[in-house]
């Protein structure tokens, strides 16, 4: 919240100030790291609604520590990068606030131990993503992409909430740790997991709900690098990894995750091969890599867990570095088209080296962290064997081939290829190039360089990764990671996949582009069609439910109020008449007057007359209250009636004096009957309410306690003390409704004038 005024005053510097948040998270978790790596976990609980077992519980174990370090570590780099990337034309206050909010919400997702807390943070990240993709909101494409991402991820999240509730009820606890330690089973749990899986798939952009991620690439590059590569899209994988060890055995989970992940690997990789836009290529690559992570972490293969968390780290580092360099290229050359970028990266050696290191890690080339992860994955899956192991191995290998293919594409044209081979007619020879400053390059270089250092010396990060894996499942392999696994089947397979990937890249570069394009219609168009379908449906439904006629609304509301409590009342014993008809003759006179005016309202021809008679009726009721010995009620009724009358009079000055459509006698009679029946119902309710046998009526309590609340007017004391919360709610409603009226009428006046 504080980010908005901060950014107004400081501009881009505010981004650097806000980087303190993630930085603090890194430092804090680093201080806890030694204990967590030994296998302890830090738990903090704030009770919220103890009766409902609602608590804000956060828990830091090995896996959470890894995620915190990724989310916040990459976050610090992103904040630094964004300060260079954005210009003063961008909506900095909103961007800064949303990015900071996202960093906080994402920490919440990975630290939450309570399913509902996790859900809330999960949806907060979706909201932040919406704001960040929409960014300036000036372009239609941005708004469309932002809305699509929001709808897909929140719809999935909502389905997931249903799954959470089922799981929580089945297990008797909403604690994630408790759930995993003692997993419930049964058909209901299988259904619940299916629902949760929908949420996971939408968040992590798995096929077939992946379309929003490439579309989201219209967002500013820091957002793509952070939310849509390193952090938010990992939330689905994170949750799958948490649940898989406990629920892997539940019917359907393994098969579903395996199919989901494999399809994403193939479709994402395939699309990445054909993209010309550098950022969209990276987005499809992310889908493919998330599929890989789902297979390694989500299926529930304990042996692959260590490999999975290693790949998670490697991908976060490599992909955000690649996005950052893509952003640098975009700014420097003014384009993201691979063909137009041909040879552009050669002008900046630092940039070129960063891209090469990150892409090599992505492709799994030695000596980078990606290679370590892939070797570990292949050897783990070879050890697993069995149907699931073999299928996963096939999927991972296919993914690796595709990854090499598109990684080469991403690197070849912008970095390795020589400048424009054929000078086009409009090519002036000297293309646009604004040299990026060192600070702009630094963030990407740091992340890419980290991938290299950790690849060469995996021992630096090995204990953390093993702690992360073993916190997920105690069956995870505990051998330290090595860069050089020794000659053997895994290494042979690596060499084979790299060769196949290179060949694939060469083939794609030559031809087959149009064929591929026809084979796979862009998935986000399908999403669009569905979206517009829903919108049209909504228009129809609203057209029926909201005809815009006040009499119709009132009739429906009053009839409902009559029928439902009325039926209940008729089914119960009918109340007897009170002992006395009246307390005084005055009551009888005023009562008769009320009845007469009520009939007169129905017979009024002119609006103004109707309102005046209605007002008289109100005053008569106030008089009745006064006679009955309720001065407070009478006073209030009298005043309300006055103000209502004035309001009516003001409105009526703009309306025709007589009722526009002549009402047929039948309609009038019908409305009169409805009103009369409703009046009868209220009278019956009042009668039966006073006749309910009650040891100690609540009125006595109020009378006794009023003195202690410091007042002798019981009505006032009830309103301002016993039921003060109600009063507070009511005045809030009044204030909000008044503001609504104010703005509606103002808007109309401006329309009239403009």
């Amino acid at each position: 919240m504080a980010a908005v005024p901060l950014a107004r005053r400081l501009g881009k510097v505010a981004l650097l100030v806000c980087a303190a948040g993630p930085l603090a998270a890194v430092v804090w978790s680093a201080t806890r790291a030694p204990g967590v790596i030994r296998g302890e976990s830090v738990v903090e609980t704030i009770e919220w609604v103890p009766g409902l077992d609602l608590a804000l519980t956060v828990r830091l174990d090995g896996f959470a520590l890894l995620m915190v370090l990724i989310v916040s570590g990459v976050g610090v780099a992103i904040f630094g990068y964004a300060a260079r990337y954005l210009s003063d034309d961008d909506p900095l206050p909103r961007f800064t606030a949303a990015l900071t909010g996202f960093a906080g919400a994402m920490l919440g997702v990975v630290l939450a131990d309570h399913l509902l807390l996790l859900y809330v943070c999960w949806e907060l990240t979706s909201l932040a993503s919406y704001l960040l993709i929409g960014h300036k909101g000036a372009e239609k494409e941005q708004r469309r992409a932002a809305l699509q991402a929001l709808l897909v991820t929140t719809a999935g999240g909502f389905v997931m909430l249903g799954g959470f509730v089922l799981l929580g009820q089945a297990a008797g606890t909403y604690r994630l740790s408790g759930l995993v330690a003692d997993p419930p089973d049964g058909t209901l749990v299988a259904v619940a997991l299916g629902l949760v899986l929908v949420g996971i798939a939408t968040k992590s952009a798995q096929v077939p709900v992946h379309g929003w991620l490439p579309a989201a690439m219209v967002a500013p590059t820091p957002v793509s690098a952070y939310l849509h590569a390193a952090a938010m899209v990992k939330a689905g994988v994170y949750l799958a990894a948490r649940l898989a060890p406990a629920f892997g055995a539940v019917a359907g989970w393994r098969a579903a995750v395996l199919v989901l992940g494999s399809a994403s690997i193939l479709v994402g990789g395939w699309q990445a091969l054909r993209e010309r836009d550098l950022k969209r290529l990276l987005a499809y690559s992310t889908i493919s890599q998330l599929g890989l992570l789902m297979v390694l972490l989500g299926v529930g293969i304990p042996e692959a867990t260590t490999a999975g968390v290693t790949l998670l780290l490697a991908h976060a580092l490599a992909k955000s570095a690649l996005f950052m360099t893509a952003g640098v290229l975009d700014h420097a050359a003014g384009t993201r088209d691979l063909e137009e970028l041909r040879g552009a990266g050669r002008r900046s050696p630092a940039l070129a080296l960063t891209v090469l290191a990150a892409a090599a890690s992505l492709a799994g080339l030695p000596p980078l962290l990606g290679f370590v992860a892939k070797e570990e994955a292949v050897s783990a899956l070879l050890d697993t064997g069995g149907g699931v192991g073999v299928l996963a191995l096939v999927a991972v290998s296919a993914g690796a081939v595709l990854t090499v293919g598109y990684a080469v594409r991403a690197v070849w044209l912008p970095i390795l290829a020589r400048g424009p081979s054929s000078a086009g007619p409009d090519d002036t020879g000297e293309r646009r190039w604004e040299a990026p400053g060192p600070a702009f390059l630094a963030s990407g270089a740091v992340l890419g360089g980290t991938g290299l250092v950790l690849g060469v010396v995996p021992a630096l990060v090995s204990p953390l990764l093993i702690a992360a894996a073993t916190s997920l499942t105690p069956l995870a392999p505990r051998e330290p990671l090595h860069l050089w696994p020794g000659l053997g089947l895994p290494l042979t397979m690596s060499a084979f996949t790299i060769a196949a990937g290179l060949a694939l890249a060469a083939v794609v570069a030559r031809r087959a582009q149009p064929v591929l394009r026809r084979l796979l219609p862009a998935a986000d168009r399908v999403g669009d069609a569905a979206l517009y379908g829903v919108e049209r449906l909504c228009h129809r439904v609203i057209g029926v439910l909201q005809p815009g006629s006040l009499p119709v609304y009132l009739t429906v509301i009053l009839a409902t109020a009559l029928v439902i409590p009325g039926t209940a009342l008729l089914r119960a014993a009918s109340p007897g008449l009170p002992a006395r008809a009246t307390d005084s003759t005055l009551q009888l006179v005023v009562g008769l007057f009320v009845v007469v005016t009520a009939v007169a309202v129905l017979r009024a021809r002119h609006r103004f007359a109707a309102v005046l008679v209605l007002g008289t009726l109100g005053y008569a009721v106030a008089a009745l209250f006064a006679v009955h010995g309720a001065p407070d009620l009478a006073l209030t009724q009298f005043l309300v009636e006055t103000v209502t009358l004035v309001a009516f009079a003001l409105v009526l000055r703009r309306l025709p004096s007589s009722f526009t459509t002549r009402r047929s006698p039948r309609v009038v009679a019908g409305r009169g009957a409805l009103a009369g029946a409703l009046g009868l119902l209220v009278a019956m309710l009042a009668l039966s309410a006073t006749q309910v046998p009650n040891d100690r009526p609540v009125s006595e309590f109020y009378l006794d306690e009023a003195e202690s609340a410091g007042g002798s007017n019981v009505v006032s004391v009830i309103l301002s003390d016993f039921r003060a919360l109600d009063t507070l709610g009511e005045i809030t409603v009044v204030a909000v409704a008044t503001l609504g009226v104010l703005h509606l009428l103002r808007a109309r006046r401006e329309e009239d004038e403009g």
Binding site: N713, S716, S720, D721, I731, L742
Partner: protein
């Protein structure tokens, strides 16, 4: 186009407006022990404003109450919810009323101890919201119809 102002109404309003405002404050203060309270008080103040409107139209209400319409509404809700929230900070349940009584200097000899309660602040919030409602009503509907006549 301004219609003729009625001399009688103008004069009566001049007398009645401050009286009504005072009466509304009286209702607000005594509400805890006698008929009245923030809601009634706010309505009486609103009625006073309506009187000014009847006498002099939209411009008259604008001079009578120069605040922006949203301000009273916001201030009212803030006062009421603020009064409700303070006990939370002191570890009491929401909306607990604090009471004290004090002997005023000089006039204390005649009227004895004066009981004070945070409820008064809460009621003042209700008062402000209701007055804001009437003000908004007159500003929007009132000025609108004036222009169209």
């Amino acid at each position: 186009m301004r219609r003729e102002r009625s001399l009688m109404l103008d004069t009566a309003t001049r007398l009645l407006f401050p009286t009504l405002l005072l009466a509304s404050l009286f209702l607000l203060v005594v509400g805890h022990d006698q008929p009245g309270g923030g809601f009634s008080g706010g309505l009486v103040a609103g009625a006073a404003l309506v009187l000014r409107f009847l006498a002099g139209g939209d411009a008259e209400t604008r001079t009578a109450l120069r605040l922006r319409p949203g301000l009273l509404l916001a201030a009212g809700v803030l006062a009421a919810s603020g009064t409700g929230a303070v006990p939370l900070l002191l570890g009491e349940p929401l909306l607990t009323a604090g009471k004290t009584s004090l002997r005023l200097p000089v006039i204390g000899a005649w009227i004895g101890e004066v009981a004070l309660s945070t409820t008064l602040l809460f009621e003042a919030g209700v008062y402000a919201v209701v007055l804001g409602l009437v003000q908004t009503l007159l500003r929007t509907l009132g000025s609108d119809s004036e222009e169209h006549q």
